[in-house]
């Protein structure tokens, strides 16, 4: 029997919006409980120091202060956090695990590392008391520069020589041989700095220990509630069932809200249990710049070997990766850079080695793109340099190297972040490129418009950049679908949501299977008491992995509905149809039963039930893909640059994207818009600027420049659809795609606008800025 697809694929308005629009959606800081205490953390104001003493006596004595704790007070509870993602099984790997601690003991390793926590009757009073704490620190040299970190004497961790957090080499083919027969070998150094995610809601946590129920409830701005519950239960010596973690509405995440376990997430629940009172901590924006993880810089020394026609023979890349003071997230970010560099191109030989370096800066964990940007920048810029040196059009050289559609699945023979070989499941890249070129008007622009504009004295250029993105990785997600007695359907999954529209896209999947309207489907995410198992929302995996689990569960409920209805009507299941919230017998008017009534029948008060029958119309199913699905796309833009002030005006921006089957095009467009906006920020506005002492110089939203409505251009979006064979719905992830290729696109288009190629200026770094363009084009010339 066919399932009608009137919801799946439609631009349906979101179920969650009315609550959000009326100011009635619950965010963590909205949780108010009687007897609540408020926490504030004292944080290190230097990047690197030994702790001589912390005197909290005066703070403890202040009116309104209930308690002050340092690392010593935590006793046996004090321990370095777990390693969240162990290193992948790659031969010859070096990995030095050093994870963050709840409150600093002996040493501080970055500005903002917490030293003590104050609990008080109000946040105002708690912050007052921070001033009362006397800290004696013996400063140590900061470790800021990656190359100096490797050779200098200063060590972030006393027992880690050269501050080497990890070293990983991956290769395919024989690069040396490829190089020796290459007609052209081009080498460059690339710097790519990615910034902070800066969700408009900062992090926060409320913990409430109910001694009567022996139950700990946590409201947390986390992207991964199930892991948080499991970890906290273990740390606190509780059973998982005694801990309930709720990630309510979360005001944006973009990666850093996964990083388990932030010190505050370890300290606040402990204190709540100790005091038998609810405790709230809400990060302020200043804290957010230090206390929430970043992404940051990599330095790549890369070379590309090509034949006379511009076909790639091989790529070699050696890069340094700033992992910050600790490395709880393992190697996800640099492995992504290493893997994503390969892009949509046939690269027969690849030799890539990276060194992850400890520095005295905040921790680096994935932020939207998660290292993919860095890799894409390197390969896209290499293609641009090669095009210029070989005198081939930049689009043509890309086209020549695209993986052909008949080559899928395409195995890159190296290991990806999910520990599986990096294999592209499906793709068809050339039509994407062609569509983007058509939309941006590439040929006409190059042949006619640009010349005309130049003649008018205007500096306008075009850029085109390609990328692929590994999405939808495992391990698995689950979902429970349940028909309620009132005919509505409840869906619960273990992932959290931070604005991706799961309340709606998951409902769309269920709506078509069960013949119920989307508004009648109530989706619950991020409450560990509603759904027990799961991993979380990251790596563009929510729709792919949880979406398919929802689909499997809905299918199972559909079977139950048909079976029970067939018994009810004493007919064959084939004679039934589901729709409009009821099951009816085809061709027999009046023979219909509401789903709610059927649900009641499935849970009778009296009477014998056949063995093997489960009560209710519900099912819990899990889905785990064998490996990640590979999305792909092309961005193109036309930009005008003021050659004297170096300010930009993006005249046209085009995205063509292939993420397989689309559940809701409106939500998908929103994801891409938001990704591009963050990409624009990364390319030209946002940069975390540290001085030699490891101090962050722009820790405010006045100086860390998030793009506003005036900086983000209007975007035109189009799609192609190459379904993924790795999941029944054929979906690929889309959450990060918009953000990934914007850096190389800006570099290429600005070079073109200012005619920098002819002046032998290359823009081999991101972010760019007016000041940096001035230096590169005027001052250093």
């Amino acid at each position: 029997m066919n399932v009608a697809t009137r919801n799946f694929g439609a631009p349906i308005r979101r179920n969650e919006d009315p609550r959000l629009l009326c100011g009635q959606a619950l965010f963590v800081d909205d949780v108010e409980l009687p007897g609540m205490l408020y926490a504030a953390f004292l944080r290190s104001n230097v990047a690197h120091a030994r702790i001589r003493s912390i005197d909290v006596a005066a703070a403890r004595a202040r009116d309104g202060v209930v308690a002050v704790y340092t690392a010593e007070d935590l006793g046996a509870y004090w321990a370095p956090g777990p390693l969240l993602v162990p290193p992948p099984p790659i031969e010859g790997i070096t990995f030095n695990q050093r994870t963050q601690v709840p409150l600093a003991k002996h040493k501080v390793r970055h500005v903002g590392e917490p030293l003590a926590v104050v609990l008080a009757q109000s946040r105002y009073l708690a912050e007052d008391a921070l001033n009362d704490i006397a800290v004696e620190l013996d400063p140590l040299p900061a470790v800021v520069d990656l190359e100096k970190a490797l050779t200098g004497d200063a060590r972030v961790h006393d027992d880690v020589r050269g501050n080497i957090a990890a070293r990983v080499r991956q290769s395919r083919g024989d690069y040396a041989a490829a190089r020796s027969r290459a007609k052209h070998v081009i080498a460059r150094r690339f710097l790519y700095d990615h910034g902070a995610s800066q969700p408009i809601e900062t992090r926060g946590i409320v913990a409430n220990w109910d001694a009567r129920a022996n139950q700990l409830t946590i409201w947390d701005t986390t992207q991964a509630p199930v892991f948080l519950r499991n970890g906290l239960a273990g740390m606190l010596g509780l059973s998982e069932r005694q801990v309930r973690v709720i990630a309510p509405f979360v005001g944006g995440g973009f990666g850093p809200k996964i990083m388990l376990f932030y010190p505050e997430e370890v300290v606040i629940p402990w204190a709540a249990r100790r005091h038998n009172r609810p405790i709230k901590w809400i990060e302020d924006r200043l804290e957010h710049f230090f206390a929430t993880t970043h992404e940051r810089g990599q330095t790549h020394d890369a070379e590309i070997a090509l034949d006379a026609d511009g076909r790639i023979l091989g790529v070699k890349d050696v890069f340094l990766h700033d992992t910050g003071a600790y490395n709880p997230y393992g190697l996800t970010v640099p492995i992504n850079s290493q893997c994503t560099l390969l892009g949509p191109y046939v690269i027969p030989s690849y030799d890539s080695t990276f060194t992850a370096v400890f520095t005295t800066k905040p921790i680096v964990t994935p932020y939207r793109g998660a290292g993919r940007q860095h890799g894409v920048f390197v390969i896209e810029r290499l293609m641009d340099v090669a095009a210029h040196e070989l005198k081939i059009d930049r689009v043509e050289i890309r086209r020549r190297n695209l993986i052909p559609p008949d080559a899928f699945p395409y195995n890159n023979e190296i290991i990806y972040q999910d520990f599986a070989p990096l294999a592209y499941d499906s793709g068809n890249y050339e039509p994407i490129l062609d569509k983007a070129l058509k939309m941006i008007g590439y040929e006409t622009f190059i042949a006619e418009e640009q010349k005309k504009l130049r003649a008018q004295g205007r500096h306008v250029g075009v850029g085109v950049a390609c990328y692929v993105e590994g999405t939808g990785i495992g391990p698995y997600e689950g979902a429970k679908v349940q028909v309620q007695a009132n005919g509505k359907v409840s869906v619960a999954t273990g992932i959290g949501t931070q604005g991706q529209g799961h309340f709606t896209s998951f409902a769309q999947i269920v709506a078509d299977q069960l013949g119920v309207d989307v508004p009648d489907i109530d989706v619950v995410t991020g409450d560990t008491d509603q759904f027990y198992w799961g991993a979380g929302t990251f790596a563009s995996r929510g729709a792919v992995v949880a979406g398919n689990a929802v689909n499997e569960a809905a299918k199972a409920v559909r079977q139950k509905i048909l079976k029970l209805a067939a018994e009810h009507f004493e007919c064959a299941e084939e004679d039934l149809e589901i729709g409009n919230g009821e099951v009816s017998v085809v061709g027999v008017p009046g023979q219909a039963i509401k789903l709610g009534a059927l649900a009641l029948k499935a849970n009778p008060m009296r009477g014998a039930v056949k063995p093997g029958t489960e009560p209710g119309l519900e099912s819990t199913q899990y889905f785990g893909p064998p490996s990640g699905a590979t999305a792909s796309g092309v961005h193109a833009m036309i930009v005008e640059v003021d050659p004297q002030t170096f300010t930009l005006d993006v005249l046209k921006y085009v995205v063509v994207h292939d993420c397989g089957t689309v559940i809701n095009p409106l939500i998908l467009a929103g994801q891409i818009h938001g990704g591009v906006a963050q990409g624009v920020g990364n390319a030209f506005y946002e940069q975390l600027v540290f001085d030699d002492d490891g101090q962050l110089l722009n820790a405010s939203l006045a100086d860390y420049l998030l793009p506003t409505a005036l900086e983000v251009p209007h975007m035109d979006i189009a799609h192609t659809v190459t379904v993924s064979p790795l999941n029944p719905l054929g979906i690929k992830g889309a959450g990060e795609a918009g953000a990934i290729p914007v850096g190389p696109l800006f570099a290429q288009a600005i070079e073109d606008a200012l005619g920098l190629r002819d002046r032998n200026v290359e823009l081999n770094e991101i972010p760019l800025s007016p000041g940096r363009l001035f230096e590169l084009t005027v001052k250093l010339r």
């Binding site: 004297q644 900086e711 800025s769 007016p770 000041g771 001052k779």
Partner: protein, 252 residues
């Protein structure tokens, strides 16, 4: 205060002093703007566009609507942020400011009022009451330009200039002020003087821009090096003077 960088023991809210708000546009050549006049009031007051074209042009660069709804002229001038637009404009226009204390009142010329970064000639017991500004005279043009990373951000460099022409179309008087070009708002005396009595032509403007670059002492920041600020000061001075000259020629 929200960052706890300043923690004043006493804070006086002057918002209820309605008599300090508003533009007093008399018949004379000068008008007065009360200290509690909000940016938004200036934006909406027809007198601004008519008599204070420099301010009218600068207002959209000042932060965002929500800030302009609350921010006051007096608060801004008394805060004296060197990157802020209004101090440079008041200095360029040659305004004067009225300060009052329990002992009495005094008028302070803008050139004496701005002492340095976040520092003014106001005594601890004095309060800024109003600022007096000359109305744009006939045969004059003004222009404000700034370069900032995003609209509404503090200027990396801002240039305010006015040009008044004589009956022969030559420059009778030029005035050039800059924001974020030194410890306080900077008045580019030599550059302004270099234009007096001359035509406002390409070469004269280029010469003035060069002088501006030598008269300023920008501090540099994470957003722009001193060199870039100086470069921008030259670029924007040329553009602003050109525009002001055109406007002066177009005005009656």
């Amino acid at each position: 205060m929200n960052f706890r960088l300043t923690q004043p023991a006493i804070l006086i809210d002057i918002n209820p002093l309605n008599e300090l708000a508003g533009v007093n546009n008399g018949a004379g050549e000068r008008l007065r703007v009360g200290a509690l006049t909000r940016y938004r009031n200036l934006e909406r007051d027809p007198a601004t566009a008519q008599h204070l074209p420099l301010i009218a042009e600068a207002l959209p660069h000042i932060a965002h609507p929500q800030i302009r709804n609350r921010g006051t002229i007096g608060g801004n001038l008394a805060h004296a942020d060197p990157a802020s637009e209004m101090p440079a404009i008041v200095l360029t226009l040659g305004g004067r400011l009225r300060a009052q204390s329990a002992k009495g009142e005094r008028w302070i010329d803008a050139a004496d009022f701005f002492v340095g970064a976040l520092t003014t000639a106001l005594e601890p017991d004095e309060m800024l009451m109003e600022v007096e500004l000359p109305k744009a005279p006939p045969r004059s043009g003004a222009c404000f330009m700034e370069m900032s990373r995003r609209r509404g951000d503090f200027a990396i460099i801002g240039v305010a200039c006015t040009v008044r022409l004589d009956d022969h179309g030559r420059c009778a008087e030029a005035r050039i002020g800059l924001c974020n070009a030194g410890d306080g708002p900077v008045f580019a005396t030599q550059a302004a003087r270099s234009l007096a009595g001359r035509a406002i032509g390409k070469n004269e403007i280029a010469e003035a821009a060069k002088l501006v670059q030598s008269e300023i002492d920008p501090g540099g920041s994470i957003h722009a090096s001193k060199e870039f600020q100086r470069h921008l000061a030259g670029v924007l001075t040329m553009r602003a003077l050109t525009k002001a000259g055109e406007r002066a020629r177009g005005s009656a």
